[in-house]
Amino acid sequence: MAFVHIVKPGLQTTIQDEGRWGLQSRGVPVAGPMDPSSYRVANALVRNDRNQATFEITLIGPEVEFEDERLVAVAGAEFALSLDGVDVPPNAAFVAGAGSRLRFGARVRGSRAYLAIAGGLAVTPVMGSRATHLVSRLGGLEGRALTAGDRLPLGDMNRAQTGRRNPRPVSGAHLIGVTGPHAHVRLLPGPQRDYFSSDALDVLQSAPYSISKDSDRMGFRLEGPLLRHVRGADIISDATPLGVLQVPASGQPVLLMADRQTTGGYPKVATVITADIGIAGQLGPGDTISFSMCTPRDAFAALIAQERALTALEAAAAS
């Protein structure tokens, strides 16, 4: 079995797959990529299945060494990338030779990049998933962010990966929702819209919110126009979906992200549409986010368009 070695870990590099679904009834958070689209692009470019485990890289990238020759790709946040000192492109696949080192340099824009390696990261799944959940120390490698000296086993390559070494000249750049320090996402109202004043959705759309420094994979604390409760700031605890804006008594919303707890006791005013989750996932502390309401039809149309583009990329990269 071949391994990839962590020479330098970067700021917070974790292992993620599509997430640990099906156990939220037992309090197990889903985890998974903060930017699901970029994650899927990275896997597509190296002809992996869409659920194979990749690295999620946060703000400062790692340096890794490959034991054997592999097709690799980095998608999402844009970094200067070099392989043994030679520049390699983002959002496209390239071959990393045995013993080669991939180094992440300066970050250009975005917060999270996905490094996919043909065969995927083959750490032992925990309850059906390899996704790392940092707070409950589950999945990935010992449930933690990677450190220098870690060795991660790689999965066997499929025929599309061993048969033709050279990658297709395919780019995933058009699918990457990295917008720089300001992003705009679309919302649907609810599930507890009725806990807020009648102008709450207007307030939410009136000005951008900034992402506070107390923001992580669990959620982004937002600072901006105050939302006003009309039925108190407590509900009987219920489920907390990805991308929901929960609002504690302070009136400042918290955007719940990949590592959120499964349930919560604050009312939730609105929810980011699935197609725009990755755009939010590229933001970091100090960045800003603005919101606009949309309709369920808009949300579905956006998701269909995204799915078609991702499927087309998967087909093009595999052909």
């Binding site: 679904w21 099906g22 009834s25 589950l138 009987i236 219920d238 489920a239 369920p296």
Partner: protein, 226 residues
């Protein structure tokens, strides 16, 4: 937000990939019984596109893949299922018995709960171990079960300053609720004892000790502290 109000429940959307069936806005065994029954029905049906089913005190959230099913199709099925959901008989199963070492280092807040209740620590233990509790839901961290209802005489509120580290296995009280910390986490519940059982162990074939709808009874393993 589409809603259906033809019954004593409503179905609301939570974004484009979750629906929530909400029953009466209260924490009661009868209501939670319907929640658990509905969640089990949906699990059993294995509906295409459903990714996760989350029963809570008074609602069931259903997470789905919008590319494989949609709100209208799903809510039609949920509406029928929710109308049919009846609580399982309460004495269907023997309660799961959980040994607890009360007081001392294992239960550093037992003294405070006794002071709150105006009774001895031994009396608090007797009252905590007497009822058969219902597991209403799991949440907070993997395997954490919210159980009730604690005897009102010992239903001490949360600590004003939460502890940064609560040892795993700690048994706590927060108002009418009681629970076991499955892992070392921060926590504000009043700690009355500790159990050697692990509510969550991902290396076990069955990682979870409890699920929503279970019955639980605690029993003291050491003589009541004086």
């Amino acid at each position: 937000m589409p809603q259906h109000r033809t019954h004593d429940f409503r179905i609301v959307t939570a974004g484009d990939s979750a629906v929530v069936v909400e029953f009466a806005e209260c924490i009661e065994a009868e209501v939670n019984g319907r929640v658990v029954a509905l969640a089990e029905m949906i699990d059993t049906e294995r509906i295409a596109g459903v990714r996760d089913v989350v029963p809570t005190f008074r609602s069931v959230a259903i997470y789905f893949d919008p590319l494989r099913t949609d709100f209208d199709r799903l809510s039609e099925r949920l509406e029928r299922a929710a109308a049919d959901a009846r609580p399982a008989p309460t004495i269907a199963r023997e309660p799961i018995r959980i040994p607890v070492s009360y007081g001392g280092a294992a239960g550093p807040d037992l003294e405070e709960v006794a002071r709150y209740a105006g009774m001895t620590e031994a009396e608090v233990i007797t009252l905590h171990a007497a009822p058969v509790y219902r597991v209403y839901m799991l949440g907070f961290v993997p395997g954490f079960a919210y159980m009730g209802t604690v005897d009102p005489r010992i239903a001490a509120p949360r600590r004003s300053t939460p502890r940064l580290r609560v040892p795993s296995g700690s048994v706590g009280i927060a108002g009418g609720q009681t629970g076991i910390y499955p892992s070392e986490t921060p926590g504000g519940w009043q700690l009355v004892g500790r159990t050697p059982l692990k509510p969550f162990d991902p290396s076990r074939a069955e990682p979870f000790l409890l699920k929503a709808g279970d019955s639980v009874q605690f029993y003291p393993t050491t003589p009541a502290t004086v």
